[in-house]
């Protein structure tokens, strides 16, 4: 019975997965067209598939450097966001119930503020601090946990840790940082994996902030290069699709890897 249920569950998940793979497959096929041609509606597979569009991406824009910039940014952003977010989540967990409620309300409120409402004051603040044109404004949100929802996620994970464990560790003279590292974080692994996944996806695909803050082409990130290619027009759609594929590939890889570790952590 258990095997049958597991099989049905596996089939269902595969089916759902296939639905999400279709756009990616279409993207990949479109990227195989030669630059200077346009896909004909209904004709999926190109007459002479090739990788010329991928070569054109690197010929047209400094995509390699931009992807490296994006990778470095993700490497800086995600660990910081996880450390800050998990510390924040644990901190809220240790508060009194009334303060916990207040913090959760605040987090939900902060997550609900439209980005358009804060981008100008933030931009002006970073300019006033002398960080215009640098990566600091892109990395700074990680110091606050990356996003209010990530802190909320860590808080919910921390709620699953029995208070008696935290108090016992405290009685053993462990400091809060040690408790966070030794007691809380190992028990929040699924939340860490989920937060890492979300933070990576947000940071990797972030467009508006790099657009506003980065002036020099040397420091620009991959999504900005993608938008630069968009202006090439209909005769170079395959180039745009190839660049989109290059941007999607790392996220897809992470999506394939993280759920396994998440599953193992949950014990599924």
């Amino acid at each position: 019975m258990g095997v049958a249920l597991s099989f049905i569950r596996g089939c269902g998940l595969t089916l759902v997965g296939c639905v999400f793979v279709v756009p990616l497959a279409l993207l990949f096929v479109a990227s195989l067209h030669a630059p200077g041609s346009v896909p004909v509606p209904g004709d999926l597979w190109p007459a002479s598939p090739g990788t010329r569009a991928y070569q054109a991406v690197f010929a047209h824009v400094p995509m390699a450097g931009a992807m490296l910039n994006s990778l470095v940014l993700v490497a800086l952003f995600v660990p910081t966001a996880i450390v800050a977010g998990s510390l924040g989540g644990l901190g809220i967990r240790l508060m009194s119930p009334a303060w916990q409620l207040a913090c959760v309300t605040l987090l939900v409120g902060a997550a609900s503020v439209p980005y358009a409402a804060i981008w100008l004051p933030r931009f002006m603040a970073f300019q006033a601090l002398g960080f215009g044109g640098s990566w600091v404004p892109l990395w700074a949100p990680a110091l606050m946990g990356g996003h209010p929802l990530l802190v909320l996620l860590f808080y919910l994970a921390a709620r699953g840790i029995p208070m008696s464990q935290l108090e016992a560790a405290r009685l053993e003279s462990a400091g809060w940082l040690r408790i966070w590292w030794r007691v809380a974080l190992p028990q929040m692994r699924p939340a860490v994996a989920a937060a890492a996944l979300l933070a990576t996806a947000w940071c990797w695909s972030s467009f508006t902030e790099p657009l506003l803050y980065l002036h020099s082409e040397r420091s620009q990130t991959a999504p900005l290069m993608l938008h630069a290619l968009e202006l090439l027009g209909a005769s170079n759609w395959s180039v745009l699709m190839a660049a989109s594929m290059l941007l999607a590939a790392p996220v897809v890889l992470i999506l394939l890897i993280v759920p396994f570790s998440l599953n193992r952590s949950v014990g599924g």
């Binding site: 824009v61 044109g133 020099s216 202006l231």
Partner: protein, 447 residues
């Protein structure tokens, strides 16, 4: 000791991050130029900057390319608000109005004139007029494009249709589009369309003018739309009639699958309407035999101005260097370098008339059409709210143009009333945005 190391490491990281993207030479003037540019265009701008650098080694110009107009404007408005705007930026004629309202631009005309770097006769007049406000040339145009007909020479030849004449009329345009609309597989649906076009005010405006109508009551100080005339409505309806009554433009469902540019490139449309920028994309297409022709004329000939200009931020600390760069970019060398990208029609007459633009080895064969069209160019108002008006009314026009088949049937005998319906919709969508301009504008007529 450990307690001190962590903050130091953090400070080092912040400094490292701050340093990313910065590389100002200490003793040179540093200018920032922001523009919408595709990768090929961006290369041309960098060549321009390198050439300028050989003349003025003391001025370093940093080029900041942006991929799309909407993001370009977002970035500009944000950076102007924060006091960190680029010294120079290139902006399209229809989008620069909002920067007049915020009074952030330093008029470039007087700067160039006072330095003896500007001879008005050397440039085409329509773009200069387009970027003039309150009697001053605010931004210096770098190109002067227009809406033209792109036509597929191979398809015209294959179906025995006469190539467009320089003075062809609405009737000849209609006949050609009809002759080229073909059902190739006998399924009673067209596989080849005579024409495909993006319906927007910038595409419809030339037809309104050709029919003898006007878009607004006063081009310099518009107070209302002037579309409630038989002539204007006739112009507004021309393309819709071609679609509904003659069936030479693809219906909405086909347009959703494939836009006009892609359809033309694929050979699914024999004609399309676009500006000079489209030429560069077509040059990259193998095996497409194409050329350009002027827009057809009706009562008169008319096309619409497409132009970009260098604007100088009032807060720039290097106005003299920025002025010199503008003079170089709109000079012989600068214009020739940018022409090579194939994207622009030079605003400087001598370059436009030279092989730098009329290169016989590069399509289109009839590149001179862009120059011959210049005397017939008209423009939309350069008021601060015009771009917002366009963004509001263009969806209305598209919906009106491609409404459902049922509505089409109901309106088959509407005649001009259908056009007046569009005028109602345009006026409603624009709301109160079309208001008198502030004092300073002149009051010449649009007609």
């Amino acid at each position: 000791m450990i307690e001190f190391r962590r903050p130091l490491a953090l400070a080092a990281l912040v400094l490292c991050l701050s340093a990313c993207g910065r590389g100002d030479a200490p003793d040179s003037v540093h200018l920032r130029l922001q523009a919408v540019a595709d990768p090929v265009e961006a290369r041309a701008y960098r060549e321009l900057i390198d050439a300028f650098r050989t003349e003025r080694p003391d001025v370093e110009v940093e080029f900041v390319p942006v991929g799309r107009h909407a993001e370009h404007v977002t970035r500009l408005t944000t950076s102007f608000a924060a006091g960190n705007a680029p010294d120079l930026f290139l902006i399209n004629f229809r989008r620069w109005g909002q920067f007049i309202a915020s009074d952030v631009l330093e008029p470039v005309g007087p700067l160039l004139r006072d330095a003896g770097l500007f001879e008005r006769e050397a440039f085409y007049e329509p773009p200069l007029d387009g970027f003039t406000y309150g009697g001053e040339l605010i931004c210096m145009p770098q190109n002067v494009s227009s809406l033209v007909v792109y036509w597929n020479r191979a398809l015209f030849k294959q179906y025995g249709v006469e190539p467009p004449a320089p003075d062809w009329t609405w009737k000849e345009f209609h006949d050609a589009a009809r002759a080229l609309t073909r059902d190739l597989d006998g399924d009673r649906r067209a596989d080849l369309y005579g024409l495909d076009v993006d319906p927007s005010i910038i595409r419809l405006a030339p037809f309104v003018w050709q029919a003898g109508g006007r878009i607004v009551d006063d081009i310099h100080a518009p107070t209302r739309f002037a579309l409630r005339s038989t002539q204007a409505v006739t112009g507004l309806m021309f393309l819709k009639r071609l679609k509904n009554e003659v069936g030479v433009i693809p219906p909405l469902i086909e347009r959703r699958a494939e836009g006009p540019d892609a359809r033309f490139i694929r050979g699914g449309a024999a004609m399309t309407l676009n500006s000079r920028r489209f030429s560069a994309g077509l040059r990259a297409v193998d095996g497409l035999d194409w050329d350009v022709a002027p827009l057809p004329r009706h009562r008169e000939a008319a096309s619409v101005l497409h132009a970009d200009a260098y604007c100088l931020g009032r807060q720039s600390r290097h106005k003299a260097a920025a002025r010199d760069f503008i003079a170089f970019a709109t000079g012989e060398t600068g214009q020739a370098l940018l022409s090579a990208s194939g994207r622009i029609v030079p605003v400087r007459k001598s370059v436009a008339e030279s092989e730098a633009f009329l290169d016989p080895d590069q399509p289109p064969a009839s590149a001179r059409v862009f120059l011959d069209t210049i005397p017939t160019l008209r423009r939309t108002p350069n008021i601060p709210t015009w771009y917002e008006i366009e963004t509001r009314i263009n969806p209305v026009i598209e919906e009106w143009m491609f409404e459902s088949a049922a509505q089409m049937a109901g309106e088959a005998n509407f005649g001009l009333r259908d056009g007046y319906l569009l005028v109602d919709l345009i006026e409603q969508a624009a709301g109160g945005l079309l208001k008198p301009a502030p004092a300073g504008g002149t009051t010449e007529s649009d007609s």
